[in-house]
Symmetry: C2
Subunit: 366 residues, 2 copies
């Protein structure tokens, strides 16, 4: 079998940073620092290639990486490409074999760029896929967990030189519990290599071609910016999204707790939404949006808070008073909306006693 790997031009990584930040629905960490790492690595002559997931052999080993922790902390402890590469190397040492390729845990935010940073150091390609199709805060919120694949082992590295391996757990929630506590102790941010996946598992259970999708989305936004046309409209068109709200941020309550960034943002309506108010609760990512007290969008639908002028995403850690924003919803990958998927990522999985109803679902009245 001929394996096609396509070099990723730096220009596409610039677009990836924009697109992934939108798909991050407020989380996944700002991609800006990852982008700076990639510019530097490319300037040093390194280049990263993209690999189609269906070109993986069934028994290939794939590393699944992410920067774990609370996004706000990532604004202070800066991303370094070598740390995520080290997390992968710890796993290679632990497993006693090399990875064929590396992929994103989540295509949202900086975590879309983490596998590129690892790949640049390790000289292996990046698989064009992730296992969320967005960003989510917890370990059991992946398509691999929904597929009941093996949750262990996980390797974790921090910038100082601490290394932890969660060697075995009985459930995905135990992986979340144990790895989260270790991450918090390392300073609420750590590079992780999640349970390795076979090529077969990636083909069967990953969410495919999301790197390409994020690059395309970023490209559409940047083109609209250059043309001075409406980038929000470009996003909605590219992704089949819906406008939920337009307004000005009037309050943001934020706390870094238990390894997450949690809180609520309040947005006062402008234009067609004048007089209305939207509140959006978050746990790293935007989770539930209420309009005048009525829930109008929930996980796993992607709730995205965008700069009203540039169309660029605003993260839960960077949202601030006075910003003019557009809140939009983008459709989630179908697997997240199955009954098993909703057990893992529906509103109740986040502690909200709300029935999931996609904003994209036809209503009874229609």
């Amino acid at each position: 079998m001929t394996v096609r790997t396509t070099p990723i031009p730096l220009e596409d990584i610039e677009s990836l940073a924009v697109g992934a930040w939108i798909l991050g629905t407020g989380g996944g960490g700002s991609p800006y620092l990852g982008l700076l790492n990639m510019r530097q690595l490319y300037a040093e002559g390194r280049q990263v290639s993209l690999m189609d997931p269906f070109d993986l052999a069934d028994d290939d080993d794939v590393a699944v990486v992410s920067n774990m922790g609370a996004p706000l902390v990532g604004q202070e402890r800066l991303t370094d490409s070598r740390t995520v590469a080290r997390a992968v190397e710890i796993m290679e040492r632990y497993q006693g074999r090399k990875f064929r390729a590396v992929m994103s845990l989540e295509i949202g935010g900086g975590n879309a760029i983490q596998p590129l940073m690892a790949a640049a150091h390790l000289g292996i390609p990046v698989v064009d896929a992730d296992c969320m199709g967005r960003a989510f805060p917890e370990a059991q919120m992946t398509s691999f967990a929904i597929g009941d694949l093996q949750p262990w082992p996980l390797s974790m590295a921090d910038c100082r030189g601490q290394e932890v391996i969660v060697a075995r757990v009985t459930t995905w929630k135990w992986m979340e519990r144990v790895s989260r506590k270790a991450c918090v102790e390392l300073g609420s941010v750590a590079s992780t290599c999640k349970a390795p996946r076979t090529g077969r598992e990636v083909k069967d259970w990953a969410i495919h071609h999301t790197t390409t999708k994020a690059i395309g989305l970023g490209r559409a936004v940047r083109a609209a910016q250059r043309r001075h046309s409406d980038p929000i409209a470009a996003i909605l068109e590219a992704e089949g999204g819906l406008r939920l709200f337009a307004g000005k941020v009037s309050d943001i309550a934020r706390r870094t707790t238990e390894g997450f960034l949690r809180g609520t943002a309040t947005i006062e309506g402008l234009d067609g939404d004048r007089g209305a108010r939207m509140e959006i609760a978050f746990q790293n990512e935007w989770a539930v949006a209420w309009r005048d007290g009525v829930p109008v969008a929930t996980v796993p639908d992607l709730i995205c808070v965008l700069d009203a002028v540039t169309g660029e995403a605003i993260g839960t850690e960077t949202l601030r008073y006075g910003q003019r924003v557009a809140v939009v919803a983008l459709p989630a990958p179908p697997i997240l909306m199955t009954p098993k998927g909703l057990e893992h990522v529906g509103p109740r999985a986040f502690g909200y006693d709300i029935e999931f109803r996609s904003v994209f679902a036809p209503t009874a009245a229609e």
Copy 2:
């Protein structure tokens, strides 16, 4: 070289349980459940042998085991000999080689029996040594840490099937921090296999023949009990100890926090100490004793609270209102009282701004 390993009769394990509970200075966990495990294992036909540390080859690998966590939790989640054996097996798998023998992290309390439980399953001898000569609450409070030996790796297993490896840390305190948080998440008690030691390291840095010492101490107490002579006097004679106080427990404040059992016990004087009051602060183990507000004994001297009649130790988790007790001090291993030793285990290492002065040191007036 002929290696002498001596079978340990069950009778000696009964004595070990009594002696180690005294050397535990309130901590290390009650040895009773470990003893029950050993009775069962011996009833099944298993037997454990003791090995002199100086019979180890320089390149032998030695497993250092302990049950980690808050002693009070160990009263509810009962010790199972298979869990500590599993911690050792995880380390063998991780290191890719078998251990020659197993030894105690601390000769105090139930942790004196943990290596016997592991050895019974693994079919290897127990080294007659530990690395505290007593019990202490934290990972950096060992002779191996005082000797600046490598602090990593550590393996951890719980009764449910979770397994964690702390693969690398930059300091012993980081080992304590990371492993403690993992232990707390597993329920504040877990079986651990600490950083493996070579035979050379055990010969150079362990505290030697402490298993034999604990057995001898327990034997002396049990003999005194049988003779109806004073077991406290037997302890003081066996160990060269000093009586500090006699009284009745009038208060005990106890909280399980951050993976430790912390608090203060108050004892009202009786007999020659009538009218006086002793307070003893603890973090798993008794740490500092004040008589009428004046510190009279501190770590690393062994502060032991004993049942006034039987001479048996009372743990920080089992002390209760109304008990008649004798408080005695026993001498600590010399390495703990060196300047480097006191950095690790002196009163300041426990947060008390008190200069260490052994109750066994000659005073200026003498």
